[in-house]
């Protein structure tokens, strides 16, 4: 009798567990990230400690690099003054010709405080959320290159879908040849650019940028560099393996682009 009761309980629990994915459509989209928000501070403490400890062996190089970077900043500030003058002159001339000026892009700097628990998914957790102006589908960059887009957004935390995740799909353009294709994530192997024409002249070393098609990624953001070009499985198109510009697996800080 006890064994039968136990088996029944087991079956009932299993049924309940299997029903949850179907019931999940009735839950708020950002439920998981809002719960994860509770762990924002411990995640931040652990990741900051880890970054500091990871950099201790490279302390001397960091000091030397810091000196060079400070010098570069001074040089760049001089250049910035010159270009500001040129920009002001440009604005005056545009006003004279009554052109519409394009909007400036604002960035929200964020720290990477965690990653996806599963090794089969490629997402990162950043320490900014709705209260900092982050919204779903905002584009995330680092340095020169594209990192991904905001997939889920909580109050003080957000999850970013990386460009190398298998669920990531971006419309791209080969900068030199202007061939268009779709870049899909391929995990640790980078990205694959699909649907390149058979007459395409794409070569190893070509830079790939976002094409601007679709509502999410603006045109001109650098994605990566072509590593190899092959025929695809259907023999109707070429496909290129693209190495991301950004070192996706060693990110510590990112910038979220405000539209």
């Amino acid at each position: 009798m006890l064994k039968l009761q136990r088996h029944l309980s087991l079956i009932l629990i299993l049924i309940f567990i299997f029903i949850i994915p179907f019931l999940s459509q009735f839950f708020q989209d950002d439920l998981k990230i809002e719960i994860l928000n509770i762990f924002r501070i411990p995640l931040k403490i652990i990741s900051n400690t880890y970054y500091v400890l990871r950099n201790i062996p490279n302390f001397k190089e960091i000091v030397a690099e810091n000196k060079i970077l400070k010098q570069n900043i001074e040089n760049l500030e001089r250049e910035l003054l010159k270009s500001q003058e040129a920009r002001l002159e440009n604005e005056r001339l545009r006003n004279l010709l009554a052109f519409n000026a394009s909007g400036k892009t604002h960035f929200i700097p964020s720290m990477v405080i965690g990653k996806d628990l599963s090794d089969l998914r490629y997402t990162i957790i950043i320490d900014k959320g709705k209260r900092d102006g982050i919204r779903k589908d905002m584009v995330v960059v680092s340095g020169n290159g594209l990192v991904g887009r905001v997939r889920e957004c909580g109050w003080g935390i957000a999850r970013v879908l990386l460009i190398v995740d298998h669920d990531s799909s971006i419309s791209g353009l080969v900068q030199r040849t202007r061939d268009e294709g779709i870049l899909v994530g391929n995990g640790r192997a980078g990205l694959i650019m699909k649907y390149l024409g058979l007459d395409s002249d794409v070569k190893k070393g070509d830079k790939v940028i976002t094409s601007g098609f679709g509502a999410i990624f603006k045109k001109g953001i650098l994605i990566g560099e072509v590593v190899s070009v092959d025929m695809d499985e259907s023999n109707l198109y070429l496909k290129a393996v693209v190495k991301p510009e950004v070192d996706i697996f060693r990110l510590e800080e990112v910038l979220v682009m405000k539209p």
């Binding site: 299997f18 949850i20 999940s24 994860l36 762990f39 996806d116 599963s118």
Partner: protein, 137 residues
Amino acid sequence: MFFILAIIIALLESTIFRGIDILPVLVIFRGLRKGPFVGLLTGAGIGLIAEVFSSGPLGIDLILYSITGLFSGILSDRFYYRKDLLSEMIFLFLGLGLFYFLSLIFIGRDIISYRPIIITILFLAVFSPLAFRLIER
């Protein structure tokens, strides 16, 4: 206490211990030692913790960990499970094999391109029982 430990492990796996899956190992051990019912409940509890720390549709990690815990409990009931090192390595290998196989199916990834997972499974199956024995002492 056990689930607080699981939360701490999830925090560490999300930040420092990238590529080392300790949570499925915990579920399998619990299932092996306590039977299918406790294995299922432990899997469900840890599955809920994993849900919070991973992306993907709600419920997938819950199912994965629950099935793994249940399977480990059934294995220990059906086959004579002795609490010795070799048995634990074998059962852990089987449990992790099921966990990763189901992960690839549920998340929709190409199984063949994930052959390196065998190395992860072997590594965890060999070293986890040793680590647990050290902790228990």
